[in-house]
C-alpha cells in the first residue's frame, strides 16, 4: 500500500488501499501526538504554506499544528491580507509564493476545482483544504480515522449524513470515501439543501429524521452553509430547522447503540444539534479535532516523501 501522487485533491480519486494507507500512517502520528514531546523532523527544512483564500480558523490551525509538529516552516497566508484583493490572479499569487521555494501548499478556496487548478499549474504539492462545494479530503480522512478507532471496522457500517448536503464539501468527500470502504451512506436534508440529482451519489435518501437515524452507527451532522447559498432561498427559520432536521437526545435513541455523533464545526447550537447532544456522551466532535492533526501530519508527510 502506498500513495504516489504529487497532490491530495480529493477522495473521489483515491482507492480503498490509498485511503487505508493514509489512515495507517495517521495512527503513527497520533501516537506521537500523545507523547509529551510531540515532534518529528520528517519535514525539517521544508516550507508549507497555508494558502487560505477563504477564512477558516480551525482548519488552518490544525494544518499549521500538523506542519510544525513535523518540523516544517509553516507559514500562513490569508486572503484578508492578500494581493488577490488588489486584482492579482490566483495563479500569480501562488507562483509568487512558489518562487520562495515552497514545497507544499494547503489550499482553501471558495471556488470548486480551484485546488485542482492550482495543482495543474504549479510544481509544489497541493493539499486541498476545502474547495468550494467540491471536496475536503482531510476532513473525510479524519472522520474515517475516528470511525475506525471507535468501531474497529468500516464494512457494513451505516452512516447518516444530515443537513446542508448540497453546499457541503465534507459530505462529498465522505460519500466518495465511504463507498470505497463498504460503508452504507444515508442522506437526509431539507429539499433545498439536497443536491439536485442526488442519485448520482448512490446513497439511500431518507424522508424524515426518524428514517435517517434508524439503525445507524454514525450520525454526521452538517453545518448550514448560509455563506455558500449564493442568494438562494434561505431556510424559513432556525426554529423550524431544529424541529424537522436537527438532532436532539430523543432522536439519537433511534440509532444503533453507542453511535458516533460528528459535526465538522463550527456548530450552530440549537439548530443542527442541541447542546445536550453536542456535549453528550456520544459526541465525537472533539475527537475529530484531535484526529485531524494526526491525519494532516500523515498527509503532509506522505506528500513530502513523494517529492523525493
Amino acid at each position: 500500500m502506498s500513495y504516489k501522487h504529487k497532490d491530495l485533491l480529493g477522495t473521489r480519486e483515491l482507492s480503498r488501499d490509498e485511503i487505508l494507507f493514509f489512515l495507517d500512517s495517521a495512527k503513527e502520528f497520533k501516537n506521537l501526538n500523545n507523547q509529551s514531546i510531540k515532534k518529528s523532523d520528517n519535514l525539517r527544512g521544508k516550507t508549507v504554506i497555508n494558502a487560505f483564500f477563504e477564512n477558516s480558523t480551525r482548519t488552518r490551525i490544525s494544518f499549521e499544528t500538523a506542519a510544525k509538529r513535523l518540523g516544517a516552516d509553516a507559514i500562513n497566508f490569508s486572503a484578508a491580507q492578500s494581493s488577490t484583493k488588489k486584482g492579482e490572479t490566483l495563479i500569480d499569487t501562488i507562483r509568487n509564493m512558489e518562487a520562495m521555494k515552497t514545497d507544499i501548499f494547503v489550499v482553501r478556496h471558495e471556488c470548486s476545482g480551484s485546488a485542482e487548478f492550482i495543482a495543474k499549474n504549479t510544481d509544489a504539492s497541493i493539499v486541498n483544504g476545502g474547495d468550494g462545494l467540491n471536496e475536503h479530503p482531510t476532513q473525510a480522512l479524519l472522520d474515517l480515522f475516528t470511525i475506525r478507532e471507535n468501531k474497529g471496522k468500516f464494512e457494513g457500517l451505516n452512516v447518516a449524513i444530515i443537513g446542508d448536503i448540497e453546499h457541503s464539501r465534507v459530505a462529498r468527500s465522505n460519500i466518495w470515501a465511504m463507498h470505497k470502504l463498504g460503508i452504507n451512506v444515508r442522506l437526509f436534508a431539507p429539499p433545498m439543501m439536497m443536491p439536485h440529482r442526488v442519485e448520482v451519489f448512490e446513497c439511500e435518501v431518507a424522508k424524515t429524521m426518524e428514517e435517517a437515524l434508524d439503525g445507524v452507527d454514525v450520525i454526521m451532522m452538517l453545518r448550514i452553509q448560509l455563506e455558500r447559498q449564493g442568494g438562494a432561498v434561505a431556510f424559513p427559520s432556525g426554529r423550524e430547522y431544529s424541529k424537522f432536521f436537527g438532532l436532539n437526545k430523543n432522536r439519537v435513541k433511534l440509532a444503533n447503540p453507542n453511535p458516533l455523533i460528528f459535526h465538522p464545526g463550527p456548530i450552530n447550537r440549537g439548530v443542527e444539534i442541541n447542546s445536550d447532544v453536542a456535549d453528550g456522551e456520544h459526541s465525537f466532535v472533539l475527537n475529530q479535532v484531535e484526529n485531524g492533526v494526526a491525519v494532516r501530519m500523515a498527509v503532509l508527510d506522505i506528500l513530502n516523501k513523494n517529492r523525493g
Binding site: L90, G113, R172, V200, G230
Partner: protein, 426 residues
C-alpha cells in the same frame, strides 16, 4: 474582375449539382457547363461550393472590449470560417443602443471590407431592461434585429413592447432565454455532473420558463421572436408547439450545444463554461434531432471571445462563452458525416434560412444574379486549429490545438477572394 470556379459541387439547400460558376463583379453571373474566360480560374474539384455562411449570433466586442476581438479581427475570423455575413450582439461598451453606434460599427466593417456586418441593436437602453431603444432610427441605420442577449429582459411588459415596436419597423427580437431570478450564481448545467463537481448549477427550467413566456408574448403581439442558442429538450418542445400554433418563432442552435455535454466539464476546463451551459446527452440529442427534423432554423456560433487570461482563473470566476467562427464548418460537417443532417440541410441552416429570416434577398443561395458570397469547403482537409490559423484575438475554445476535419479553404465576398487557407494551392 471575373472569377471562374470550375468543377464545382454546388450545394444549395434544395439540391446539389456539378457545374461551373462565373462571377462578374459583385454577383454570380452564370452557372454553366461551359468553360468561360475569366481573370482568375479556380478548380474546385472535390470541394463543396456553398453560399457564404451567415452567422446570426456573434460578439465582436467592438466598441469597448477590443482586446478580446474587434470588428477587424472578428471579420477575419469570420471569413476564415466561411462566414460572409455576421450579426454582432449589442453588449458592447458603449452599448449598441442608438443609431450612431450602429452606423459606426457598419462603417468600420465596410472599411475592412471582408464581410457584411449587420448589427443587432439593444432592446433596452444600456441593456438596462427598462426603456426600449429607438428601434426605428436604429433600423434605418442598419440594425437588423434587437436583443439584450446575455442580460435577458425580465419584464414581460418591456418584452411585449419590444416585440410590437420592432415588428412595426419590419424587424424582430432575438431572445436569450433565461429567468435570472433563478440564477443563484450558477456556473454550469444543474445535473449529475454539477452534483459531483460541487459547482453551482443552472437548471434547464431557467431557460424553458423564459422560452414559454416569450412564445406567449409572440402569440400576443404577432411579433417575430427568434430564440437564441436553444440548449434543452423542453425548450424545443415548446418551440415546436408554438410553431404548430402558427406563432411567429424561429430558433437557432450552436455547434457547441450539438457537439459537447456537461460531461466535458469534469476537469473544470473553463473553455467549456458557456451560457446557456452545456447540458446532458439527452438535451444534446434533442438539439441534434431538431436540427434534423427542421425544427431548428439556424446554426449560429455565439462566437464569444474572452482573453485567455480571463479564462485562466478559478472556474467560478471565468467568464461564459467560447469562440466559434472558425470551428463552425468542421463541427457542422461532423453532423453531416454522422448522418444527422444532409449537406443541403447544413447549407439551409447556415445560410439559406438566416438569409430568409433576415430578408436578404440576394444571399443564401448559389444562384445567377445573387451576390457572389461563396465559401469553398474541403470536407476532408485535416489540420490543427492553432495560433497559425486562428484569426480571433482570443483562443477560448476547447478545440484550440486539436485536430479538426473540414474547413472553408476559400471564401469569396461580393466577388472578391477574402480568405485562402494557408499553404493550400486550390
Amino acid at each position: 474582375m471575373k472569377i471562374f470556379i470550375k468543377n464545382a459541387t454546388i450545394v444549395n439547400s434544395d439540391k446539389t449539382i456539378q457545374s461551373n460558376i462565373l462571377i462578374d463583379g459583385e454577383n454570380i453571373a452564370k452557372i454553366t457547363d461551359e468553360i468561360l474566360e475569366a481573370d482568375e480560374v479556380i478548380d474546385a474539384t472535390g470541394k463543396f461550393v456553398v453560399p457564404g455562411l451567415i452567422d446570426m449570433h456573434v460578439h465582436f466586442r467592438d466598441p469597448g472590449y477590443e482586446y478580446k476581438d474587434d470588428i477587424n479581427s472578428g471579420s477575419e475570423a469570420a471569413v476564415a470560417g466561411g462566414v460572409t455575413t455576421a450579426l454582432p450582439m449589442a453588449n458592447t461598451n458603449p452599448v449598441n443602443d442608438n443609431a450612431v453606434i450602429t452606423r459606426d460599427m457598419i462603417a468600420k466593417a465596410k472599411a475592412r471590407g471582408l464581410i457584411d456586418l449587420l448589427p443587432i441593436g439593444a432592446i433596452t437602453k444600456k441593456l438596462g431592461g427598462e426603456g426600449i431603444t429607438e428601434m426605428g432610427d436604429m433600423t434605418q441605420a442598419g440594425a437588423v434585429a434587437f436583443s439584450d442577449d446575455g442580460l435577458p429582459v425580465s419584464s414581460s411588459d418591456v418584452m411585449r413592447a419590444a416585440l410590437e415596436y420592432s415588428n412595426h419597423f419590419g424587424s424582430f427580437v432575438i431572445s436569450h432565454c433565461e429567468d435570472c431570478s433563478m440564477c443563484r450564481t450558477g456556473v454550469m448545467h444543474e445535473g449529475k455532473v454539477s452534483a459531483i463537481l460541487g459547482l453551482k448549477g443552472m437548471p434547464r427550467e431557467k431557460e424553458e420558463i423564459m422560452v414559454s413566456r416569450d412564445m406567449l408574448l409572440a402569440k400576443l403581439t404577432g411579433g417575430h421572436i427568434h430564440i437564441a442558442h436553444v440548449s434543452s429538450a423542453w425548450s424545443l418542445k415548446m418551440i415546436e408547439m408554438a410553431k404548430k400554433e402558427g406563432i411567429n418563432v424561429t430558433c437557432e442552435a450552436t455547434p457547441h450545444h450539438f457537439t459537447f455535454t456537461d460531461e466535458n466539464l469534469m476537469s473544470y476546463d473553463t473553455n467549456f463554461k458557456m451560457s446557456p451551459p452545456l447540458r446532458e446527452v439527452s438535451d444534446k440529442e434533442a438539439v441534434r434531432n431538431a436540427l434534423k427534423s427542421g425544427l431548428v432554423d439556424v446554426i449560429a456560433t455565439d462566437h464569444a471571445p474572452h482573453l485567455d487570461d480571463e479564462k485562466f482563473v478559478e472556474f467560478d470566476k471565468a467568464p461564459f462563452g467560447i469562440i466559434g467562427l472558425q470551428t463552425l464548418v468542421p463541427l457542422s460537417l461532423k453532423l453531416v458525416e454522422e448522418g444527422v443532417i444532409s449537406l443541403e440541410r447544413m447549407v439551409e441552416l447556415t445560410s439559406t434560412n438566416p438569409a430568409r429570416i433576415l430578408k436578404l434577398n440576394n444571399k443564401g443561395r448559389i444562384k445567377e444574379g445573387y451576390l457572389a458570397d461563396i465559401a469553398i469547403i474541403d470536407p476532408n482537409l485535416e489540420y490543427i486549429y492553432d495560433a497559425k490559423l486562428n484569426k480571433s484575438k482570443s483562443i477560448n475554445s476547447p478545440l484550440f490545438g486539436k485536430k479538426l476535419k473540414g474547413a472553408a479553404v476559400m471564401t469569396i465576398k461580393s466577388g472578391k477572394i477574402v480568405w485562402n487557407f494557408p499553404n493550400l494551392l486550390i
